[in-house]
Every structure is written in structure tokens, then in C-alpha cells.
Symmetry: C2
Subunit: 654 residues, 2 copies
Amino acid sequence: MSTAAAVPFSRENLESILKRRFFFAPAFEIYGGVSGLYDFGPPGCALQANIVDVWRKHFILEEDMLEVDCTMLTPHEVLKTSGHVDKFADWMCRDLKTGEIFRADHLVEEVLEARLKGDREARGLAAEVVEEDEDKKKRKKKVKEIKAIRLPDEEAKEYEIILAKIDGFSGPELGQLMIKYKIGNPATNGPLEQPKEFNLMFETAIGPSGQLKGYLRPETAQGQFLNFNKLLDFNNEKMPFASASIGKSFRNEISPRSGLLRVREFLMAEIEHYVDPNDKSHKSFDDFKDVKLNFLPRDIQEAGKTEPITTTVGEAVSSKMVDNETLGYFLARIYLFLTKIGVDPTRLRFRQHMSNEMAHYAQDCWDAELHTSYGWIECVGCADRSAYDLTVHSARTKEKLVVREPLPEPKKVTRLEVEIDKRKFGPKFKKNAPLVENWLTGRTECELEDLAKELDEKLSISAKISGFEEPVEIGQDLIKIEEKTHVEHVREYTPNVIEPSFGIGRILYAIFEHTFWARPGSESRCVLSLPPLVAPTKVLLVPLSTNDRLSPITKKVSKILRSHQIPFKIDDSSASIGKRYARNDELGTPFGVTIDFDSVDDGSVTLRERDSTKQVRGAIDDVVLAIKNITYNGVSWEDGTKNLVPFESKGDDE
Amino acid sequence: MSTAAAVPFSRENLESILKRRFFFAPAFEIYGGVSGLYDFGPPGCALQANIVDVWRKHFILEEDMLEVDCTMLTPHEVLKTSGHVDKFADWMCRDLKTGEIFRADHLVEEVLEARLKGDREARGLAAEVVEEDEDKKKRKKKVKEIKAIRLPDEEAKEYEIILAKIDGFSGPELGQLMIKYKIGNPATNGPLEQPKEFNLMFETAIGPSGQLKGYLRPETAQGQFLNFNKLLDFNNEKMPFASASIGKSFRNEISPRSGLLRVREFLMAEIEHYVDPNDKSHKSFDDFKDVKLNFLPRDIQEAGKTEPITTTVGEAVSSKMVDNETLGYFLARIYLFLTKIGVDPTRLRFRQHMSNEMAHYAQDCWDAELHTSYGWIECVGCADRSAYDLTVHSARTKEKLVVREPLPEPKKVTRLEVEIDKRKFGPKFKKNAPLVENWLTGRTECELEDLAKELDEKLSISAKISGFEEPVEIGQDLIKIEEKTHVEHVREYTPNVIEPSFGIGRILYAIFEHTFWARPGSESRCVLSLPPLVAPTKVLLVPLSTNDRLSPITKKVSKILRSHQIPFKIDDSSASIGKRYARNDELGTPFGVTIDFDSVDDGSVTLRERDSTKQVRGAIDDVVLAIKNITYNGVSWEDGTKNLVPFESKGDDE
């Protein structure tokens, strides 16, 4: 692919091929389609299945994770407890006259961008040369024709600042911007309602009475948490361990866009790795500490910069940029997984979440972002959910979700401890009391030292607790922090959860962009350089002509390929060899096997490599062995084919 | 398993093991659970994944089917057209006082059964010795204590007859039975409303306006039909071909029961095989025509009998018991699939649907039924959906869903043709006109001959058309059937669809029952004899003691197993070898590899077979090869281990 740069990337070409080859298509298209819903056709479905298969081997098998398959239908109570009923929402504005609905942040973004563009035109500045994506073009149609109106200098500057941090505004803040800058329906300029929260979960009723409200899950995580005790038991009470789940989740987007990147039904693969909060080391960390990644930590972003730091995971953890070994371990493993399935490592970065953008449950979070023509896209989240979920479900159900660790022998322990005045504590925090209590009892010795000092000096402590928006003030009237001595037999704790969470559809789309190119000199001949491991079909079998003499050997090769479980297709159409290969380059098929009249005589066949169009020749069994080694055993083309003879194309191909 | 019969099957034991080993469990159990929703734990999830994997290889890969992955969210319009909005329903009765809801057919069944039991007691007859399932026992609790009341002889006889055909009553008929026999709320005897239809689809709203009504799909089929044109194009317009899909579907059961057999969210694997209605032959039929199956055709059932006919598929098709080769081909392939994954062939039969129980779209249908302690359970349906779905979607969307077959050369054709008087035909049949027209134009030459005769004699024809409950009368005023001569270049037709549809959860449960047994002499030692191919874990690796000397060789064996991608678990606990094996017999792990001090000296290990508890010994590589051949290549234990040496257990095991 060293020649790829020669032809500039065209999303239009890529999309046309993905559609034509039925990688995916809008669902219900003959009914006009429903936005945000897509069907995967045969090659997309196979690619997805292969990626899932690699994921399963890379994460689940390698680490003996406990895979579960939980239901998508989820009762209201569970998602109320997890916080999704209250907080899993976007802000929308309604035009009461036309009935149109806009997502508030997108609306403000589009209108201000349009005005800035008009301003630039009015000032006679050259339009910026930005390749605008199809999708944005379509959206822009909503904004009535851009008028070349000059803005006051000050206002233009304000717009720039707002756009730079558009993801960080709350609904009411967006509402204020709409008032301040008179933002209405872009098409009619008509007035809009103030932003209202719209919950993104699909609601339904379970059972015939209609009284059991339920939702389609917004993530696979909750089912895993609810089974924590069963999983710990299955794991013979050993810690740390991980559960994992692969399945569909749902998100009722207000106005889906960007193709596969923002959809209403999507495949996720999620790991919940349970660790001792006092020990977030990882036994295999050393094996991966030398993996180099591009990090974009919080402080760089706060300084308004986007240049990542490239360093090893070992360095990142020892410098405390990445909080702990387990988090670092997973970042490295995520990198190795993504690059194995076709992600371009130069277009992959790990961005730390800013504190105002983190999910309501997260303590810290790094996203694996992939660069596409839509910009940098979050494809994998790697969050430390702390003890949040287990704590809230346990508090709500009165079911303990904890680890009990027998101590090797009874132990006299002197240590700082929090003593809670329950008579005052309960009434003060009400239903949140268990959360606050769990936070307090979950502090390490070091943290307690600091807290004891703070309590002594300020007569209260200020605690940042997941699940609360504001720091929680806890005064001396409610708690004491003092040294106590006990004899202990068992240690009991709520594990913390490190969660790597993969959006398979987004990864899939990024891989399309990262592996797509056109052959220089013939721009209409496009190639998807999917790694053989994940390519939907591994081999195209091509009899040189439709002559009957070739058919026994075609059958023989088919049989051998099938017996090795190598997915292949036969193309025995009368199209030229070149055309047949071109079709399969678009499908990402890495190998071609050509059968000609020499094959009939000596049993040899030609093997063609998709990206280089190099060809080699050899006996059928040797060629199949080469295909197998390159596809499944990570052998390079050069090593895999070194026993085969280079072969000159007869001009039928490139 | 020849000894299995010695200990009678106990569902209670099986269920307790399935729960304890976390094959599956009620979802949201710590919240009290939601009936009809189950989560699969690690072994259940792995077993399910392995079954799906075998399914994919057995059907999709073997026949180059086009796998697709379509959305579960489905807009109202699609399911209105398919008939599900109007007809995918059960009948329910509400108790207006208590708010309880009953499924009408289940209610009538339970009450009449309870009364018959009371009658028998009153007559002093011995209670029948019927092993009553747990589930039924629970349901019976609804029925207040059974009173020993003698029924009039005539009435008792009527009850028997009603119960024999309980599945065949319509809602209003059930309502009449409830009035006639004074059936009310079994617990209170309070009055119930008359049966009302309850649609079994989960409803939701797509998008923020709440105006786009949608459902969770009740089957994966519709998504495949809607993509028909894209699939045909992908297949280079070649017929016949099949699409396939594996995914979750949903059914809002009124009162779910029977564990995994009747659930609200379930995994399906469905094939839609598109054929020329004039040619339902199958190219591979001959390869499978000698497969023998147990058939229970319609006429045997109508005679009130249940003894199946055992014959070959070839016989069944040539005698017209099974309508066509493609249907017969799939019945044989379904049989081979099910027996490969652990179904007991003596507990598998193919039952033809009675005409009154067929789904609204089906033309003919055979179910693969598996026998369990709940009775015979439909696990795979194999229906001829005719051209119904493609026809109705095409009529609704005005999008042609047809095959165009270029004729080798223009052809003068003289044949019977239906001429429709559109001016009268349209107004008469209104929105159903396309259905009737398609039926008429889809008749074969032979059928047209008969119809022409009928039209001539009776001045009208009576047509049984899928989608209509009653035969449709079509008079001479609307159609003529006459010989016409044309020159034709292309033949255009709507394909028929043969649909094998698999309920994976039900199959899974039946396999549990078919493979579960207790070791004679020690009934508490239970075994799941899952075939190695689908067993969740293939090997239990057991170091004889926790002595450090064994740990290098344990690591070595682990590494070899992992490199062969053979799923295994290590049990290095201090429990006795026998206990450790017993645990894994319950998990269905087919092989044990024991490492002892001899292993350290000579590199040999012991291989144990789960069902026979036979042991053999050999070098690590030979043992791994044996495991691989037996598990994945269908080699028998005897052949696979013939190079290994029989080994006497030291009494630690059985």
C-alpha cells in the first residue's frame, strides 16, 4: 500500500463500493428506510463475524474471561438504579409550528458554522479548502442558503470559541446560546422551544398488562454486573477476573447521521474486569509494557493542543499519566487488537476524557479514537467505572455484591478507620447514604491520612463521589477518622471495574477508510486491503476459461479449500481475469487462485496477492498451505511463499 | 451411555446442576427476575456459541448461503404488510377485579384437567401415574385445591375431547367453552372477560417525535425478504440460492413458562431458500435421499395416532408425503445437524402441521420436534412460505421482488393464460387484488388446466390463497383462462421460499435433557454427555497434586492446548481428582488430562474420557492430537486413541 497516497481518498467512491458490494445498506430501504438503522449484507456480515471472532480469541480465550449472554430487554428498575433513566439523554429542541425536532448541540454548531462562513464570504476571504463530508452537506441543506453577512468582529470570535468546546455545554447553556444569538429553525427562522432532555433509551412494555416498563439496553454492562455473584462463584472466588459480552445495544438517537458511526442499533463487545481497589496491578502487564501508543492526556487538551505524546505503556503508567497497570494493560491490548484487524496505527490515538464529558459513572476514561474523514471518532472506551455500579445495585436490592477474602490467619490490624454517626448520616444523605458510605470505606490508608488531616483542619471533607455532580461535604458531626485495632479473619470489599467497551460498527467503518485505496493510474480500480485474517472471503478461485477441461481441477481445489475451512468463492463467469480480480479487490479478497491449462497437465496453480498483484506458482497443496499460513498464522507474504516460484502475469491482470 | 437407563431421569437434578454451574439463570435475579427472560452464564454461552458455529459451517459454508445481519427494530409498516400486526397474537382473558391476566387456551386446559382429576378421585379411581412436570405443578397452584367432584359422564367425555384438540380453538371458541363450562379465575372463581387478542410483539417508538411506531422483530425472516433484490444481485442473479441470519427475536408471551422453552427473547437461526415455483428440485438431494427419518404426516394425526412412519427422505418425497425435494433435502440436513450436536435421534420426529395450526403465511410446514420431559417440543420449523412475503412487500412498496430469467433464445409459446378483467377485479378484491392476481399468475400449466375446467363447469373457481382464511371465489366475470401464443425473451417470476427456522434456546434445552444422566450406583454423580464438538470446554487439565514440581509441565501442556485453540480449564485446587472430574462431568467437559510425577520424568500424561471414564496414557503431543481428532474431526474414541496405552486408574476416580 505504499502507493496508496498517489490517489486522494474519496469517501464518495468508498461509499459507492460498500453499497454496490452490499457490505451494508439502509435497513427497510424498499420502505424508504429508517434513519440510523442499517443491515449488513454478506461481506459486511462476514467481516463483522471475523472481527468478533478475533476479538473473542484476543481477549476472552487469551485471558479466560467469563463470557455471558444477557437479555436486551431490561426492566425500568435496573436502569433507574444504574442512572440511565435519569442521565442517558441528549438535549432536543422542538419547532412547535412544523413539528421538526433538532438536537440542540448539533443545531447551535451548524448555525454558527454557517454564519461564520457567511461572514468570511462577506469579508471577501477565500472559502476554506475543507473537504466537506457528504453528510454535512446534506445537513447544511437544512440551513437556508448561506448569506454573506458580516458579523461584528467580537461576535465572530465568540462563535469560534463556542464551536471549539461545543461538546461541553449543558442543555440550559445551549438554550442560553440560542437566545443570545437568536438561533431558530435554520430552514424557516421560526422560533424553537428551549432544549429539553430526551432519554435515548427505547421504551417498551413487558408482559400483557403493560405495567412492567422496560427498555432496550443501552450497553451490555448492566447484565454483567447483576450476575457478579454468580460469576465470582463460577470463578471459584478467585480475583481479579473479567466477564465479557458481545451483543446488540440500542440508542434512540435524535437525528442519526454519519452512516455507521451514529446508529440506533449496534453491536458492542464489552469487558468488565473486576479488580481489588487497593491493587490495580495486572499479572501480564510486563509482557506489554513496551508497546508504544499515542496518548492525548487531559492536560494537553486543556492547553488547547492536539499533538499526542508517543511513549510506552510502561512509561505512561510509571509517570501516572495512565492511572494504573490494569488500565495501561488494556490500552496496549486494545492497540494490538485494532492494528491486527486493519486499523492504521498512525490514525489511532488514546484520548483521555475531560472531566466534564465523562459518563455519569466513570472515574477515569481513555478512548481509542480512530481518524476518519468525519474526524477523530471514539471507537473503544476504556473506563474505570470504580465501584459505582456494584454499589448502587447492591444498595437498591440489598444483595451484597462483594468479594470476601479469607485472611491466611487472623490478623491484628491497626489502621485509620472511618466511624460514621449513623443517626445523623442516614437522614442527611437519605437514599445516597450507601454511596457515600461505600466511598468512605473504600479509601486507601494514604487517602484516609489526607482525609483525616482535612477533617481536622477544615472540620469537614469535600469528597468527589461518582454519581454526584457536586463534591459532597461531610462534616465532623457525621464522621470521625481514627486509628483502631481489630482482629480480622476476612477482608470484604466491593471490586472496582475497568471496562474496555468496543463499538464494533464504528471500528468496522474506520477499517474501511483505513484500508481503502485506488490503484494509481486507474482510479476506478479500488481496493479494500483488509487483513486476510478478517477478510470476508479469503480466496477467489478463477478458472482461466469456461472450458470444460478446467472443471475437474476447479472442483479439486474447491474440495481442498473447503476441507481446510478456508472461505472462498468461485468466479467461473466469462468476464476477463482482470475484471474478476477487480471485483474481488473491492470485496477485500486477499488471494486469487488461477486455474489454467497448465494446471490440468501438472497440477500447479497461480496465487495472486491482492495489494501488490504479485503472482507466484506452485502445487495446489503448497499454495493452500501458503494461504493458510498467511491468513491464520500471521506469516508474511514473503515468508509464506518462499517455496513458490514467481510468476509473470500474462497481461490479463494489471 | 448404555448404562444411562439405570437411573431414571430427574428434571429437578438437571435443573439444579444447570443453575449451579451457571449454564443459565433467570435474568435480573437480584431484582426478583422477569419471567421469560434468561441470561446465559459462561458454559451456556460457550455451548450456544459452539452450536451456532456448527450451524454456520453445516448450512451456510457448506452451501454458500448469503448471511445477513438485519436490525431488530422494525417499523410498523413492514410488520403490518407481513401480517404480524394483525395475526401474531394469542388470546388472553382479564380478571377485572384482581387485574390478573390468563392465556385463554392454557386456562381452559388447566381448569378442565383439574376437574377431570377431581372426577377421577370422586369415582375412586387411582390417580394416574403421570410424572407431572414442576412447571405444571406450579401452575396448578393457581387452580384452587382440586375437589373430588364427580362430573356427569357425558361432560367428562366432552372434556377429554376438548383437551385432545386444545391447540386448535380460536379465541371466540375458547370464550364459548368458558361460558358453557363456567370457567372463571381458578383461584377465586371470579368472572373473567371474554378472550381478547393480545399482539405478541414488543412495541416501541423510533426517534424523538414518538410518531414512528416500531416493534422488535418476531422473526429474522422479514429483514431477509426486504433485501431480496440486493441478495439476488450479490449472487449474480443465479437461482436457486439462500440467505441466512442468526440473531435475537422477541415474543411478548402472556405468561411464559417451561424455562428456556417459552421465553420472551430468544436466539434464532433462519434460512430463506429461494426457489423457482416450477422447479423445487435440489441439486444435492441425491446425496441425502437415503437418510431415514421419523415422519408424522397430517393424515396419521387426523386419525388420532402418534406412531411415526420411519422411512428415507427419498421415499417420503417420491410418495408425495413430503411435497418436494428441497423440503426433503432440508429435513435430512436438519436431522444431521441436530444429531451432530447431541440430539438423541430416537427422540426426534418430523411432524407435519395440521392445516388449522399453520402460521398465516405457510403453505406447508414440517416441524422437527424433540422429546423432553415437557413432551414433544417444536424446535425447528421447516415451512414453505410460498411467494407470500415477497408478494405482499412488493405489492405494498411497488418495488418488484422477482427473478428475471433471460431465455436462451426468443420463444414462441402457446399456453393457458389467465386474463383478468381489471375494471372489475380491482374493485372486487381491493387491497388484496395483487395477492389474488399473483396467485393466479403463479399457477402451473397443469393447475391451469384444472382451473379452466372448474371455471367452465362451475362458472367460478374456488382458490385457497395464503393470506386468506377462506377460499376465494373468482367468477367468470372476472377472469378467463385461455390458450395464447407469445414470443418471449425473459421469464419473470416471484420465487417461493422454503424456510428452515431454528430456535436455538429450545434445541439447547433439549440437548441438556438428551445428554444428562447419573452414574449408576452413585446417583449424585451426574454427567452431561455433550458431544466434544459443542462442549463448552474440551479439556480439564488436572495436576495430581499442588506440588511445585508439576507446575512446569502443567504450563507446557497449557501452552500446547492454547496453540491448538482447544478450549480448556485448569483445576489445580486441592480437591481430590475424583471431585474435580465430577465437577467437570456436570459441565460436560469430555476430556481430562492428568499430570502426575511420572509426567515430570517421561513427559507422558493420562487422558480420561468422560462418559466411559476410560483412561489411556501417552506423550503430550499424541494425547493432544487424539483430543483434536476426536473433537473436531469426528474420529471415534477407539480410533483416536489406538496409539495410546490403556491406563489403570489408581482408584481416585470412579
